[in-house]
């Protein structure tokens, strides 16, 4: 039974490709989401998933399907820089700036798209992606971004961690806090760009927040946090694809695969939440000596 649910669907080449893409994104999302959650950057990620939209549209208009990644990349880096600059005004808090940037950029994309005829189909593809039709080149692009981002995180991990927990200490040690923030923004933007065409903005934001948020409920130690987060990301992708395949093949119920992956991730979050709460309750009732 378990074999039929979890292994059999991936005998088809298109499902195998979708699984490869979901696994890669699970690893990438799992690692980057740790930085996102520790730095409380969930809203930044959400904003960046929307600000690349005009880039996607312009890239498509100028160079066809091949232009999408480059358009998205330009706008992602542009909005990451703009975000860092705009946050320098302490009068308006960062979250308000983000909301304005997000809606403004997204509206530019909508204005551009609304002048075309196949308006709603384009918008839908952008939001939900088409993970079942990802091709070899897109998988390769995701793999390249994964390697790149992991390399940068391996180099800057300690500095980013220090900046997340103690910005003043990090500045006092002579680190350029603004540059570190920019580096994280650009990394999140890269993940968005790598994933948006295949899985859509909805799945990207879930991948950038949920795995580490779930792992955080279970452990305080960084190494375990990264491991658990990657595990949640990969498992969520696998389970989600398997469930959506089964529902449509055996029960005639069409479930959007991207959305099913997100809900699988959220279900894992709920499990982590239950386990974390239960464990806290047990340790709460344990004698004080054992707790220490």
């Amino acid at each position: 039974m378990l074999y039929r649910l979890l292994v059999e669907p991936f005998g088809f080449p298109f499902m195998a490709r979708a699984l490869t893409e979901a696994m890669l994104l699970g690893v990438l999302g799992g690692v980057v989401s740790v930085a996102v959650v520790l730095r409380r950057f969930a809203f930044v990620s959400d904003a960046l998933t929307h600000t690349v939209f005009p880039g996607v549209v312009i890239g498509f208009m100028v160079a066809g399907a091949g232009g999408i990644v480059w358009g998205a990349l330009v706008f992602a880096v542009f909005s990451a820089v703009l975000l860092t600059v705009l946050s320098s005004n302490r009068r308006v808090t960062e979250d308000a700036t983000l909301a304005i940037l997000l809606t403004g950029f997204f509206s530019v994309g909508v204005v551009l798209v609304s002048r075309r005829s196949s308006y709603t189909a384009d918008l839908t593809a952008f939001l939900f992606g088409r993970i079942l039709t990802v091709d070899r080149r897109e998988i390769l692009e995701t793999a390249v971004v994964t390697v790149l981002v992991l390399a940068v995180l391996a180099v800057l991990g300690k500095e980013l961690l220090l900046r997340a927990f103690d910005p003043d200490g990090s500045a006092a040690l002579g680190y350029r806090v603004g540059l570190l923030d920019l580096a994280l923004n650009v990394m999140v933007a890269l993940v968005v760009v790598a994933a948006v065409k295949a899985v859509g903005t909805l799945l990207v934001i879930a991948l950038l927040v949920v795995p580490a948020a779930a792992a955080r409920l279970l452990t305080d130690r960084l190494a375990l946090l990264v491991g658990a987060s990657v595990l949640v990301g990969v498992l969520g992708g696998w389970l989600g694809l398997a469930v959506s395949y089964h529902a449509s093949v055996y029960y005639g119920l069409r479930l959007a695969s991207g959305a099913t992956v997100v809900l699988a991730l959220v279900a894992l979050y709920a499990v982590a939440f239950a386990v974390g709460s239960a464990r806290r309750m047990v340790s709460h009732h344990a004698p004080a000596a054992e707790r220490a």
Binding site: D46, A99, L102, L202, V266
Partner: protein, 280 residues
């Protein structure tokens, strides 16, 4: 201005004025309490409520409203847990709600059309009944905010003080979150997700750059919201682009200009000030 002479255009005008004004007032609290991300997540996460209501043939506002109340309670409960990370909680709730909506919708056919109306709204097809709902919700929310004004402002600036004075801080939080949720729900069917967030945050953030006084800030926010609505509507009619997007861009333009040129807190002024200090 004769583009606005048609009946549908006049209804759209009334709707953007109502929504702009209401969002301006609510936005002041959203900006002061740093609830922009929560607002954004409400717009996305009430989506399953709308889909469910459409499937069951119920009123869309009712579906979104009831689902939103559930979400507000869930967020408030998760926030109150020890060691909760507020922004991650909102991110999880946002993903979960929106994905659930998409899942429900994908099980149906005729998927794409409804969705884009939900995202960017269709202010030009607003019906008189929508205007009544917006006006009703607006009046209720304004009355609530006016009654609790002092407590909410105190909570925004000094939570410890609020609790020390014996006010039920957690309950006040939930009331404010519900007011924001009601505003979002009443605005979304007419003007869409993206526009409602922009109209709540951008006018209030713009006002914050011009004044320190709360009453003035509220008035400026209402003015910016209403003016953005009207100007955006006219531009969209002339240039034949999406009305919702045009309104958002006008509101964001107001913020950008103020960010640069506002008298005390604008970029230009701060740069001049720094130079004067260097040469002094």
């Amino acid at each position: 201005m004769n583009v606005l002479a048609e009946g549908y255009a006049r209804r759209a005008l009334v709707e953007v004025l109502l929504v702009g004004g209401l969002c301006g007032v609510v936005g002041v609290h959203v900006v002061l309490r740093r609830l922009s991300f929560f607002t954004m997540s409400m717009t996305h996460a009430t989506f399953p409520g709308i889909v469910l209501a459409a499937l069951l043939g119920l009123n869309l506002y009712l579906g979104a409203g009831l689902f939103g109340v559930l979400l507000v309670l869930a967020v408030a409960w998760l926030w109150s847990r020890p060691g909760a990370n507020e922004s991650s909680v909102v991110g999880v709730v946002l993903s979960a709600g929106f994905a659930l909506g998409v899942l429900l919708l994908s099980a149906q056919s005729g998927f794409t059309k409804d969705l884009s109306a939900y995202l960017v709204g269709s202010v030009l097809t607003v019906q008189p009944a929508d205007l009544v709902v917006t006006a009703g919700v607006g009046a209720a929310v304004l009355l609530l905010l006016a009654t609790l004004r002092k407590e909410l402002v105190l909570g925004a600036f000094d939570r410890g003080g609020l609790r020390a004075l014996g006010y039920p801080a957690a309950l006040l939080d939930i009331v404010l979150l519900l007011a924001i949720e009601a505003t979002v729900v009443s605005a979304v069917p007419a003007v869409g997700v993206i526009l409602s967030v922009a109209l709540i945050v951008a006018p209030a953030a713009t006002a914050r750059l011009w004044t320190d006084r709360l009453a003035t800030m509220t008035v400026v926010a209402v003015g910016v919201g209403a003016v953005s609505g009207v100007v955006g509507l006219v531009i969209s009619q002339q240039a034949r682009v999406s009305a919702g997007a045009a309104i958002v861009l006008v509101a964001c333009g107001c913020f950008a200009l103020s960010w640069l040129g506002a008298p005390r807190y604008g970029m230009v002024h701060r740069l001049l000030l720094r130079r004067r200090m260097v040469f002094a």
